[in-house]
């Protein structure tokens, strides 16, 4: 039986509401978001092929509050995916599976600190 990806994820999250499942849920959501962004990123930058003015124009188009908001969203998505990725590598390659829940909360604090600090940088 095929179901859409988000409803399956939400059901899994509800059934296993624990740090492992929560982290997996957000890892997947941020992962999908970043993949979509990468192609938009390439598309925006590809304006350079038409010359420097076209490039500057395509960048300035996003230099406003809405653009900065999207930048910030991408930044926190990458930050989460990056920190949780370190946790996965630690569990997979360095036999730290026993500490994965503690790491989840520790990285959660780092995430909040950087996310709050970045508000100042991005807005």
């Amino acid at each position: 039986m095929k179901k859409n990806i988000i409803s399956v994820l939400l059901r899994e999250l509800k059934l296993n509401f624990n740090p492992g499942m929560i982290s997996f849920f957000f890892h997947r959501i941020t992962g999908i978001g970043i993949v979509i962004y990468i192609f938009l990123h390439l598309w925006t930058l590809s304006a350079v092929v038409k010359g420097r003015d076209a490039f500057n124009h395509s960048i300035v188009k996003w230099d406003n509050t809405l653009g900065h908001f999207f930048e910030y969203l991408i930044m926190i998505a990458v930050l989460y995916h990056l920190l949780n990725g370190i946790r996965i590598i630690a569990a997979d390659l360095f036999k730290l599976t026993l500490f994965h829940k503690k790491m989840f909360w520790a990285f959660g604090i780092i995430f909040i600190v950087f996310a709050v600090y970045s508000i100042k940088v991005f807005f």
Partner: protein, 114 residues
């Protein structure tokens, strides 16, 4: 069971690219968001990319991010338990998208590094 051709290597490559991206993305964000005045203009980008080290860094980042992204998509798809034929089609499709995006990325880098 289906014969495994590539085995554990895509999984391991996903970890390797992840480790590189942890460092690479932090650098990418520092140089393009945290230590630069907006907007990021063509002039600012060529200033950085005038040194070959940064061009190599960007190419490595491009390759790692595309592999990691599309192999990530692939690992989501394996959760869907696709049939043999669908696996084959998607495997090829993602590979082609990956290789094409890599060369498009390089093509975009050329005007900056001239």
């Amino acid at each position: 069971m289906e014969k495994r051709i590539v085995g554990v290597w895509p999984w391991f490559a996903q970890r390797l690219t992840a480790a590189f991206l942890v460092v690479g993305m932090v650098i990418h964000f520092i140089v393009l968001h945290y230590t630069i005045e907006r907007p990021i203009t063509f002039e600012k980008v060529i200033l950085r990319l005038s040194s070959p080290g940064w061009v190599i860094f960007d190419i490595l980042l491009l390759g790692a991010v595309i592999y990691h992204a599309l192999n990530g998509v692939w690992s989501i798809m394996t959760d869907w338990n696709m049939g043999k034929k669908a696996r084959k089609i998607w495997g090829w499709l993602l590979s082609i998208i990956g290789i094409a995006s890599f060369f498009i990325g390089i093509y975009i880098l050329i005007p900056f590094s001239k």
